[in-house]
Amino acid sequence: MSAAPLPIPAVHLDRVSRVYGNFAALRNLSFSIPTGSSVVVLGENGAGKSTLLRILAGLVSATCGKVSIFGSAPREQPRRLAYMSHETMLYDELTALENLHYFAALQPSLLTPEQALREVGLDPALPRRLGEYSQGMRQRASLARVLLTQPDLLLLDEPFSNVDVASAQHIVHLLQRYVQTAPRTLILTTHQADLARPLAHTVITLKAGQLAP
């Protein structure tokens, strides 16, 4: 009787390093994240959290080592992963709905822009441009963009930065619901460990580009 094949992890890093000039943002990082896990990455400023997420999203290449997302290179999985940075990644001059219509038209989206906005608690009919939104609303609009494709892997860089506690809790509840409805993987970086704790199956702490013991 042959053994069942091991499931492919959502994320696998094998001795990954990233060097900028003389500065090593990540050093020899190795770990796997199984599909369906929610991982919170903690660490001080400059610990390598954002670099790690950007490498997983395929926005930055590793200087050395191997990164695989669902068994392939990150850039080969644009439809299965979504990345949200601490900036909105949306146009300030457009409304949230216009922004989402634009991005929905550029990729196969499972939610309509209106559905995605309602999902994050924003009114799609709001006529204001994104630049006139509060920081919390901007963050939620940004989250709506990544939810459009209903990705299997959600990479969120500091989703609670510059938002008040109520907005942060709203985001936490939303993410909890998102990962519970299907076997989806969530990787989130934050400084606010207390806020993210209800989400975390696993907590990873980075220190100077390495896993802290």
Binding site: P78, R79, S85, L90, Y91, E93, E98, F103, L106
Partner: protein
């Protein structure tokens, strides 16, 4: 068909952003009007109609070239703000559609300025072209496309450099030299009527085809570079 749809989506977005901010158009109009007025004060075009015809082609393209710089820098600045460019890198739509959409929007912005500039030029420099005027309808779009297609590409290339406003003209001018030569000579030939501009127009067309192809093929590499 799908590719054309993606190009239109990017084009529509850029036009909408420009309509709301008027960042590029206002800067370009101001700059070109400044050039037209200042040079018309430097000499009397009515007293020297031959000189006016001989230098107007060059003046027109100098004004358009510098005006285009404003639009080109602005068009990518919008993508860098709020890190939207990273979102563009992650969508599954072809990267070159973003480039083509942006180049087309820049073409429309500069063409809009040309529409305002052409009658002003005619009045300020008292121009009566002696050649086949209709050829300007070929030369202006071909020349403008040569400027914006390279400009859009090199503006994207210089996005990650520290002083990108300075980098763009430094890279763009030498590359655009053959096109500048062709567009200025073709325009001057139409205005003076002394020579046939056909050869220059063909050169401009060949330049446009060659550089458009190279830019479209290389844009994916530029967008996804670390």
């Amino acid at each position: 068909m799908n590719y054309a749809r993606h190009v239109l989506i990017h084009l529509r977005k850029d036009l909408r952003l420009e309509w709301r901010t008027k960042d590029s158009i206002n800067g370009m109009l101001f700059f070109t009007l400044l050039v037209v007025v200042v040079f018309s004060l430097a000499f009397d075009p009515t007293a020297y109609p031959t000189i006016a015809r001989q230098i107007s082609g060059g003046l027109l393209w100098v004004a358009l070239l510098f005006a285009a710089m404003t639009a080109l820098n602005q068009s990518w600045a919008r993508e860098v703000r709020n890190n939207v460019l990273d979102a563009q890198r992650l969508v599954s739509a072809p990267a070159s559609a973003l480039f083509v959409g942006k180049a087309l929007s820049n073409l429309l912005f500069v063409s809009g300025v040309e529409v305002v500039l052409a009658p002003l030029f005619t009045i300020f420099y008292n121009l009566h072209p002696l050649g086949q005027t209709w050829l300007l309808l070929l030369i202006l779009p071909l020349g403008t496309w040569a400027l914006v297609v390279n400009g859009t590409f090199f503006a994207a290339l210089s996005l990650r450099t520290r002083s990108r406003e300075l980098m763009l003209p430094l890279v763009l001018f030498p590359i655009s030299m053959p096109a500048l030569l062709a567009m200025i000579n073709a325009t001057t030939n139409v205005l003076t009527g002394e020579f046939e501009p056909g050869l220059w127009i063909k050169l401009l067309l060949a330049y446009d085809i060659a550089f458009s192809t190279v830019c479209v093929l290389l844009f994916d590499t530029i967008l996804h570079a670390d």
